[in-house]
Symmetry: C2
Subunit: 386 residues, 2 copies
C-alpha cells in the first residue's frame, strides 16, 4: 500500500424528507446565497422547500449556472455575494452547480488582483487561505462533488480543475427522492460517471491495498445490480439511494487513498466534450472499453481481478476472462441507454486527428498511472472506439 493522506470533513445528511433540517444546519444569522442551475429545481419544487427551510434568514438567489459552469457566470455571483454581504453559500443542484459554488466560495474571499489566477493549476490549493463556507443540496447522483474539494470550471473554451481543502462542503443533504424526477439519460449518465470514477482508481497497478480494492469492487457490483433498475424505475427508493451513496463514495477520496490512479479515460473524454459537446459520461463510455482493450497487457493483473471479482467470470484462460469482462462492461453501459461508439454520436472518423491535436496542444501526451499512454496510444484507442 502506498503512503497516503485522507481527509474528508463533509457532514452527510442522507435520506427522505430532510430538507427542513437546513434550519438547524445553517447558522441562524447567516446571509445565504442560494445557487442553482437551469431552473429544474424550480419546476420540481425543491427550491421552494429549501427557501422555506431557511426561514427568516437573509436569502439571495442566483440561478443560471450552466452545465460546465463558466468563469464569467460565476464571477457575476461573486459580485452579487460581495454587494449583499453574503457569508454562506448553498448549492442546490448537480455537479456543475456544486463545482461552480466551490469556485465562488474561493473567489469571494480572494484578495489577489485577478480572480482568473484561481484557475491556474495548483494555485488555489497554495494561495487560497480563506473561503466562504458552503453546503449543498445535491439533486443529481454522479460527480461526487457533494463530498469532495474539487470543481471543474470552464473559461474561454478550456476546462480548469480547481481544488482547495477549504471548499469541502460543510454538509451535503442527499435525499434520493428529490432525484426521482431526473430525466432517465441523466440518471444513466450518473451511473456511468460513478462507475468510471471507481475504475480510474481501481483498474491500475496493484499495490496490495485490499480495503480500497474491495470497497471499489463493492461500488461496481452495486452499480451493476441497481443501474438499470434505477434508470427504468426512478421511484424505487432503495435502488436510487444505493446509487446516490455509491456515487459519493466513488469520489470522496476513500477508494483512491494509497493506490495508483489512472484518469486517462477522463482526460481523453474531456476533449470529446470540448470538441463535440458529447455528455461527459458518454465520453467515458466511449473511451473506457477501447482503452482497456488497447491497454490489456499493461493492466493485466487488475483487469483479471475485475473480471473474477466484479463480474464473477470463472473462465480459466486469463486473456479470455479479461475480454469477457470488457465486453460485459460495454454491454452494461449500452443496457442503460448510453452508446459506446464514437460513430454513434455523428462524429466523422477523420475528426480523430483533431482530437489528437487537441490532446497534444493541452499537454496530454503521457497519460495513465504509468505515464506511458502517449498520443499514438490515444489514437489507437479512439480508432478502436469509432
Amino acid at each position: 500500500m502506498n503512503n497516503f493522506n485522507f481527509y474528508n470533513p463533509t457532514k452527510i445528511i442522507f435520506g427522505k424528507d430532510r430538507i427542513s433540517e437546513l434550519d438547524k444546519l445553517i447558522d441562524s444569522n447567516a446571509k445565504v446565497l442560494v445557487l442553482y442551475g437551469q431552473g429544474s429545481v424550480k419546476r420540481t419544487g425543491v427550491l421552494d422547500k429549501v427557501i422555506a427551510a431557511l426561514g427568516e434568514r437573509k436569502v439571495v438567489q442566483f440561478g443560471g449556472i450552466e452545465p460546465n459552469p463558466t468563469y464569467t457566470t460565476l464571477m457575476k455571483a461573486v459580485e452579487i455575494a460581495k454587494a449583499e454581504g453574503i457569508d454562506f453559500l448553498l448549492a442546490v443542484g448537480g455537479g456543475s452547480v456544486m463545482d461552480g459554488t466551490k469556485f465562488i466560495a474561493m473567489a469571494i474571499s480572494y484578495q489577489g488582483k485577478n480572480s482568473e489566477d484561481l484557475l491556474k493549476p495548483g494555485f488555489a490549493s497554495k494561495h487560497v487561505i480563506h473561503a466562504i463556507p458552503l453546503a449543498t443540496v445535491a439533486t443529481l447522483p454522479a460527480t461526487g462533488s457533494e463530498m469532495n474539494s474539487f470543481g471543474v470550471i470552464s473559461h474561454k473554451a478550456a476546462k480548469y480543475s480547481v481544488s482547495s481543502p477549504l471548499v469541502f462542503p460543510q454538509f451535503s443533504l442527499l435525499d434520493p427522492s428529490i432525484t426521482f424526477t431526473l430525466p432517465p439519460i441523466q440518471v444513466a449518465n450518473g451511473v456511468v460517471d460513478a462507475f468510471v470514477h471507481t475504475v480510474e482508481q481501481y483498474v491500475t497497478q496493484p499495490v496490495d491495498a485490499r480495503f480500497q480494492d474491495r470497497t471499489a469492487e463493492g461500488i461496481l457490483k452495486t452499480l451493476i445490480e441497481i443501474g438499470k433498475q434505477t434508470v427504468d424505475h426512478p421511484t424505487d427508493y432503495d435502488a436510487r439511494a444505493n446509487l446516490v451513496w455509491c456515487a459519493s463514495n466513488a469520489l470522496n477520496g476513500l477508494i483512491g487513498a494509497g493506490v495508483s490512479q489512472d484518469w486517462a479515460t477522463h482526460l481523453i473524454g474531456h476533449e470529446l466534450t470540448a470538441m463535440f459537446g458529447i455528455d461527459h459520461a458518454q465520453t467515458l463510455a466511449i473511451v473506457l472499453p477501447s482503452l482497456w482493450r488497447v491497454r490489456k497487457e499493461n493492466k493485466h493483473a487488475k483487469l483479471l481481478q475485475y473480471a473474477r471479482r466484479v463480474w464473477d467470470i470463472n473462465e480459466q484462460d486469463e486473456s479470455t476472462a479479461i475480454d469477457l469482462a470488457i465486453d460485459r462492461t460495454q454491454e452494461f453501459f449500452e443496457s442503460l441507454g448510453i452508446k459506446t461508439k464514437l460513430s454513434n454520436y455523428g462524429i466523422e472518423r477523420d475528426k480523430i486527428d483533431d482530437v489528437i491535436d487537441a490532446l497534444n496542444a493541452n499537454g496530454m501526451t503521457a497519460l495513465s498511472e504509468t505515464r506511458d499512454l502517449g498520443l499514438d496510444v490515444s489514437k489507437e484507442i479512439l480508432n478502436l472506439a469509432y
Copy 2:
C-alpha cells in the same frame, strides 16, 4: 436504506516514516501534553521520535494510562494540563490511551462542578461545548478510536461510553511499521476486535444498504486473508498496513451508516471483562459464535449472505451453509491463537449465573438490533459458549 448522518473530520496520515510530519501538523506555538500508557512506547523508541518531532514546542509528558483507562488516572492528567496551560493533546498509544485522551480533552474545558457528570450516558454529547484539540499516533490497530469520537472510561468498577463530535482526533498518524513490535496476542486481539466491530454492524436486519454491506464484507475478507499472516509475520508491511486501515474503517461510522446495529456481543463481552479480566477481544471471540448459533433464525438473511459472500460457501442448504460459516468464523479466531470457549479461560460454569445477574443489574435485558435478546437468551448463549 435507513436515513443517516455521517461525519468524520479526522485527517489520516498513513504510511511509513511519517512521525517527523508532526512538526507540520501541530501549531508551532502549541503547548502539548503527550499521553501514553504502560511504557511500551518508551521501549520501542516511538516516544523519542514523537518528542523529537515536536521540536521547540513546550511539551509535558503524562504516562501510565491503564488498559481500560480510569477516571481517577485521567483526572490527574487534567490537573496537570490545567496547571501547565496545555492547549493540545497528543495520544501516543492504543485504544485505551486514545479513549482516555478524548475524556481528558473534554474534562479540561468542562466548566461544570463535577467532572464525573461527563460519564453519564449522553451527557457529553449534549453538554460539552468545547474540548481541547487532540490528535493520535496510533500504535495498536484494533479499536478504531483513532478515527471516531468515542471512548470507554472505567470508574468504580463500571464502564462508561463517552462521546462528543468535539473529540474526533484532528489527525491520526498511522504508521503500520511502528506496530511491528506488538506482542502477537495483541495483534490477534486486534484482528478479532476489528472483525467483530464489523459484523456487529453487518450481520443485522437487512435494509438493502449495498455499499455498506459490500464494504463490511471487504473488511471481513481482508481480515481473513491477512489475519494469520500479520500475527505470524509481524514485519510484513503490507499485511500489517491492511490490518491497520481495515481496523480504522471498521469503526469510523462508514459501514454503520444507514444500517441497523447489534452490539449484543460487545455488551455481553464487557461483563466477562469486568468480572474475570478476560481481554476485550477474547470475550468477543467467546460470545460471537454462540450468539450466532442461538440467534440463527433471527439473523438468517444476513448470516446466509455472510456465508455466501465472505466465506464463499456454496452449499445449497441454507441452514447448513450458515452452520459452516459460523464454524469457519470460530476456527478463524482459534487459528489466530484466541480461545473461543469460556471454559478455556478457567471460569467455572456456575459463574454464568453471576454474569446474568450483572447483565440484569446493568440494564442489559433487551439487547441486539431487534431488542429481543433477553437475559434467558444471554444465558443460553453463555452456556453454549462454555
